[in-house]
């Protein structure tokens, strides 16, 4: 279908029609864009917008459910009873403090897996073992999995809810009411959609973030309900692009946006309009 229309418009621009190169550079598409621009002007074209779903991926692993925990402990016990002998003298030099430390930890694991008679130490503790026990007591602990941002419900903090996927939502003024939606930008004439997405994100959220737009394809489409009379010529279409944030923080453009928040999928549902929610809910990750 496309080739026929190209040939028909070739009478007007004979040089353009047979000249197609599949290069990734934008300049090579010039000849083809002339033909396409001629075509697209004919049909009524809706206004294109790009929305960006900026995602902060989980920082910590998910907490296992009680069933999963019990099953893992059960499997550990069985493996411990049946596994091949561990070549401890290959990994630990005889009499070294690392060996003593390993022995202490191993006895602890035995006691935890099978109960009291297993993992009991016969004989007296040597010098190296006493040293190892002392160092183990002084060791610093890992960071807690719950951050203070969780306790304070600080929605702007990117440390909140480390296990979940967080999405950026901006609060904007539209027709007098405050509405929460994803960052959005318009598409200029002749601009590619994912270029428009990067530009829109920069305009709305500032440059102080290390972001990465995943691909050239949009991941979803949304038709906002037009406030003017239904069946009007001017229509809006929003194409959503997925991006990841790896460092930095949002610095919202004060003229466009009043507020921003990093929210999980359930929290987005409570803040966003109903028809917007129905349009975006299948694009977001559940957990």
């Amino acid at each position: 279908m496309f080739s026929r229309t190209v040939l028909s418009s070739c009478k007007r621009a004979p040089q353009a029609c047979l000249f197609r190169r599949f290069a990734t550079e934008a300049s090579a598409a010039h000849e083809v864009t002339q033909v396409d621009a001629a075509l697209s002007k004919k049909t009524a074209r809706p206004n294109l917008h790009t929305g960006i779903i900026l995602n902060r991926s989980p920082i910590i692993t998910r907490t296992p459910t009680p069933f999963e925990k019990a099953y893992y402990a059960y499997q550990t016990r069985i493996h411990r009873a049946l596994h091949n002998p561990f070549p401890y003298d290959f990994y630990f030099k005889q009499g070294s403090p690392l060996e003593s430390r390993f022995n202490i930890e191993e006895r602890r694991r035995e006691r935890k897996a099978f109960g009291a008679p297993f993992g009991m130490q016969t004989g007296e503790t040597s010098e190296a073992e006493k040293l190892a026990e002392a160092t183990m007591r002084d060791e610093e602990e890992a960071m807690p999995r719950v951050h203070e941002a969780d306790i304070n419900s600080d929605f702007k903090n990117l440390n909140r809810r480390g296990q979940r996927n967080l999405y950026l939502l901006l609060q904007k003024q539209e027709n007098g009411t405050a509405i929460w939606k994803f960052p959005q930008g318009s598409v200029d004439r002749g601009e590619l959609l994912y270029h428009a997405a990067t530009r829109g994100l920069e305009v709305e959220c500032g440059n102080n973030m290390d972001t990465w737009i995943v691909s050239r394809n949009p991941i979803g489409v949304f038709h906002p309900p037009s406030p003017a009379s239904t069946g009007g010529a001017e229509e809006d279409v929003v194409f959503f692009y997925k991006a990841h944030i790896m460092a930095g923080q949002v610095r919202p453009n004060r003229t466009h946006t009043q507020d921003f928040a990093w929210l999980t999928k359930g929290e987005i549902k409570t803040r966003v309009d109903e028809d917007y929610w129905l349009g975006i809910k299948d694009i977001l990750s559940d957990f």
Partner: protein, 188 residues
């Protein structure tokens, strides 16, 4: 099978069977010049002991008692396995359903884009060449400092960026890096 509590240093009794011949060495080659080599040889090629339950010493001396503590009964073990497989199935179905929904959204978006503008559709479908550099990039690289050039070169198109962090059990000590120097990346 000997029912013995763990030995004095709390480790399995492997060194006990060392009096057996090491068949992996030639006559007269067993020497203690390199103990590491001997240890490695002993673990890789365990001696063939015929009077133990398993020639490679697979089991610990108190394996029967340990197993009794670990597994309640045959029926219980089978029930646990079935419950686990069912749980995994539920998770798999949930994950697949979510992926299916996301893919349908993508497909819908691409269909609508094709109807609206074929040039944008064609550009969106292009495969990213990791080695290609766009004109805008080449132009911008000419007037960049060395660290900035490295930053642009390290972000390869079509591949995941190195900075995308894999989830760990505990969060990093310094938390989320809120300070990040603003850097204008040229359009790819």
């Amino acid at each position: 099978m000997s029912v013995s509590v763990l030995k004095s240093n709390g480790l399995p009794s492997q060194l006990r069977g060392l009096r057996a011949r090491l068949y992996s060495t030639r006559k007269g080659e067993v020497s203690s010049s390199d103990p590491q080599k001997d240890i490695l040889r002993r673990h890789l090629y365990p001696p063939n002991i015929r009077n133990k339950a398993s020639p490679t010493g697979t089991w610990r001396p108190d394996v029967a008692r340990a197993l009794q503590r670990a597994i309640p009964s045959v029926q219980a073990h089978e029930t646990i396995e079935r419950a686990w497989l069912l749980h995994q199935r539920h998770l798999r179905k949930k994950r697949d359903a979510e992926l299916q929904r996301k893919f349908n959204c993508m497909r819908q978006a691409m269909q609508e884009l094709e109807e609206i503008d074929s040039r944008l559709f064609r550009e969106a479908n292009k495969q990213e060449d990791p080695r290609a550099r766009s004109l805008a990039e080449v132009e911008a690289m000419k007037s960049m400092s060395e660290p900035e050039k490295r930053a642009v070169e390290s972000r390869v198109g079509g591949l995941f960026p190195r900075e995308l962090r894999i989830p760990t059990d505990t969060p990093p000590k310094n938390g989320w890096p809120n300070e990040w120097r603003a850097f204008q990346r040229p359009l790819a």
